[in-house]
Symmetry: C2
Subunit: 357 residues, 2 copies
């Protein structure tokens, strides 16, 4: 018995200490004098293997510190339990919330998440698509790059019926699940709120119209004005990239123009912030002289002075939902699927920048 122990420990060491060689099911099979397939089945808890052998094998595997080589399993089963998520920019609150939601749901369901950022570039997005495909991801969640106007690179997935779910920025051209926020309603609500506060000349700083989200927000804005019997003044509608410097310039243009607005619905919170800072620097009072509403509810919006009224987008939940729809598709590949466009509710958050005393 003592001797057996010593031999056992020796074997253990021989197998464990080698930090190059992997422990495989064959090693286990050899040691236990059974076949590799039995080991494989036991480790996968296959009920066809008797409980006793299963336990013996699992215990031994544990003792050896065996870790399955998922790569090999992936190759054999043609499944990777990996999904890809592509965002324009990881380091932005909305997107990192979505990623966080995706990761939370995916890891619960036993999937890995590969992240990639397109930097809003078409070329990068294309090479990402190739790379994800080559890595044989089981599915992809994507918010398309601002630059992308053609989507043939995504046909890699659709052709091979690899599930694809869009979120936030979804092209009309591709028929699949989409999770979007109700940008139209958001635009409408934001504008209506300004109208209700008594503002009359409401401007809109919008983003590039090749993105549907900005089209929708704009339409919401227009309809809210129309419904209130206000005229739509095209000179009060600007289109540009919604980043700090550009946004500041846009706002300056508006506020110094002959048809000076008394309120502005900004395409995102960064633009709203830029506008507010411009106002502070130029002695314009917010919300007294001009009312401001943003979009997205960035973390800073709550804490700046005045705090920014905005439309809250449920990023984390969108990520979860996108992932749920994706995995459901992955796991029911055979079933015919009717794709849905899920519109997540967003919420107007009224804060200081738009409430007249």
């Amino acid at each position: 018995m003592e001797k057996f122990k010593i031999i056992f420990i020796f074997v253990l060491q021989t197998i464990c200490m080698d930090n190059k060689k992997e422990i495989t099911i064959h090693d286990i099979a050899r040691e236990l004098d059974i076949s590799a397939s039995t080991v494989s089945r036991a480790l996968n808890n296959n009920p066809k293997i008797s409980l006793k052998t299963r336990k013996k094998i699992q215990d031994f595997a544990l003792k050896l510190g065996y870790r399955p080589n998922i790569i090999a399993s992936n190759l054999r089963t043609q499944r990777t339990f990996t999904i890809g998520i592509v965002v324009p920019l990881i380091n932005r609150h909305f997107f990192s919330s979505v990623i966080s939601g995706v990761e939370a749901y995916a890891s619960e369901a036993g999937y890995n998440v590969i992240i990639a950022q397109s930097n809003d570039q078409y070329d990068k997005e294309t090479s990402i698509a190739h790379s994800l495909y080559s890595n044989r991801v089981d599915g992809v969640i994507i918010s398309i790059a601002m630059e992308s106007e053609d989507f043939t690179h995504l046909s890699l997935f659709t052709n091979k019926s690899i599930p694809l779910v869009f979120f936030d920025r979804a092209p009309k051209e591709i028929y699949t699940h989409k999770i979007i926020v109700d940008d139209y309603a958001g635009g409408y609500k934001a504008t209506k709120h300004l109208i209700d506060q008594g503002y009359k000349k409401i401007a809109h700083i919008s983003g590039p119209l090749n993105l549907q989200i900005y089209k929708d927000r704009l339409q919401g804005y227009k309809d809210a004005l129309k419904d209130a019997g206000l005229v739509i003044d095209e000179t009060l509608i600007l289109h540009n990239r919604l980043i700090r410097e550009v946004a500041t310039n846009a706002f300056r243009k508006l506020i110094t123009s002959p048809s000076k607005p008394d309120a502005c619905f900004c395409g995102n919170d960064t633009t709203a912030l830029s506008s507010i800072i411009y106002c502070k620097e130029n002695g314009i009072k917010v919300p007294e002289d001009i009312g401001i509403v943003g979009f997205s509810n960035e973390p800073f919006s709550e804490v700046v002075t005045p705090s920014i009224s905005t439309i809250k987008q449920p990023g984390f939940e969108m990520g979860q939902t996108a992932c749920e729809l994706l995995i459901e598709q992955i796991e029911n590949k055979s079933n015919p699927i009717d794709f849905q466009t899920l519109t997540m509710p967003n919420e107007l958050i009224v804060r200081g920048s738009s409430v007249r005393k």
Copy 2:
């Protein structure tokens, strides 16, 4: 010739349109009547294959829309060109900056990035480690969970000499590359700055001391006081989780205590923000009545009123550097490596919350 074209197109279609079957090097080999190994070599641009055949094969592969099965390649080569990154929380500015930096460097170097978040939980971190190992990542970048005090789960990697790089939160127990910010210097600079502004009773709201970063910031704080000949009042040092509600309570405790401070070095920007909001609500003037300095330079810190003086941490650069060190290790596995602890410089950003008029 015409006939050949037709046949060719037919073959193309037969191969392409099947949306189940993969195109493999064998398909290409068969069509071109050469061997699979030649195809493999040609696609990898092996110079042993004549330029003519290489071109022929590559063109044909392109035409077929062939995409290599990286899983198979991974299995064969024992390399995955994938690295794992583990963060406590994806959706926090500092961490998503780091991720962004990692992703940028990795994708440039041809690596994929798998992200995982530990939610600061030890158990989650452990299961992530197993999963990453099973996926045979080539290396891991990790900032450890707040809960983690034992690190045996990481020996999975160290035992198998899978490169590991820590960032921000690094345990002393494991000998490998570490990228940290100079928390000691940060704490010192922040405190020194308050002293220079004429504040005399400087409090410190610190995080849990099982994290080295908070120990270091605290020590920097203490040494700055000492060097200025000020006494260290332990009643002015609090330890708690640095989130909104908890932080507000901590600050309230300080400000209403008998030994009321005239300045506070907060363990992070969230705490600084909570403190400022508390002050606003209670008619306490910042920086006149009390000076505040935070840590991390969150996006909101610049734009709140008063803006928050803070220590800027180079998240993106840390991610890049961590990834660079990791990949260097991965690709020079044979070479003996002397591990370094890289201390990234951080920077005091002086803003409104700490500058007496």
